[in-house]
Symmetry: C2
Subunit: 137 residues, 2 copies
DNA sequence: CTTAATGATACCAGCGTGGTATCATTAGCA
DNA sequence: TGCTAATGATACCACGCTGGTATCATTAAG
């Protein structure tokens, strides 16, 4: 069971780093060195973060990225959603038309509850809370 | 975030049905009708369940499958493991060599805790508990 | 000895993940 | 003005996993 993928992971790390910088735009080249991630992939991630409103970008020489929100208002869950869509899709795991007497939906109920729990937990983890000796948890 | 796949799902439904039958072997053909699932896929699933010790099989005419354990000792978690391997693989989501100062491992800790919770929850759900008005929860 | 069942095994299409590549655009700076 | 360093947009791609299918071998009932 995978909760974090490489993209959400990398996004988290990038945001954590940016949260610790001043308002000077940080370039992909710089982040590449710090995060030790493949440049083109990093670019893709950052572009997504920008279009989704997590980052502000500056083009041209001396350009780069800065946070567009404060670190304590960026939730891991929102990152996952940004990259992979809603966590708690309510589609029935079972064959649509079937769902017979077998108690399938008892199971469905249990699974849904577990998913809600996970979703809520992820909703409580902010970027700020992931920076050592920082505010936020 | 996917917890149940089609195989674990179908396996669950098959086991629930078999748990409600007597010790007469149930054939794939029969299960196909009841569960409304594609026959070859169903066969594959049942074969896995057999090799993993959940089912006992009888070959030849009048053959089929029966439970090899009591319904209250079959846990959903074990099914998931049987089909997809361990839930809580401890591989680092981050780049092995990196894991820098950014608090990556703070996140890792949180994720691991969530996974443990899910794992434990799934460990508490038995086939028996999924059969309406039955013993077990 | 036919037939209805499982065992074993191999194959396959489609899609999501984890990327790469390329060209267009913008802004700093000499 | 024009070079250059940066992002924007977009398209492409390999690989593995999921959700199956297909086929032949084996076994047991009648």
């Amino acid at each position: 069971m995978r909760i974090l993928n490489r993209d959400t992971d990398l996004a988290t790390r990038a945001l954590c780093y940016l949260a610790q910088q001043q308002d000077k735009p940080i370039s992909v080249a710089h982040l590449e060195d710090v995060l030790i991630a493949p440049r083109p992939f990093l670019r893709k991630i950052l572009q997504v973060l920008q279009t989704q409103g997590f980052l502000k970008s500056f083009k041209g020489k001396k350009g780069g990225f800065i946070l567009n929100k404060t670190a304590d208002t960026i939730y891991i869950k929102d990152l996952i959603v940004a990259f992979h869509g809603p966590i708690n899709t309510n589609e029935c795991v079972f064959n649509k038309k079937t769902c017979p007497d077998i108690g399938s939906c008892l199971l469905k109920g249990k699974i849904e509850r577990i998913k809600s729990y996970v979703s809520n937990e992820l909703k409580s983890v902010t970027i700020a809370s992931l920076i050592p000796q920082s505010k936020g948890e």
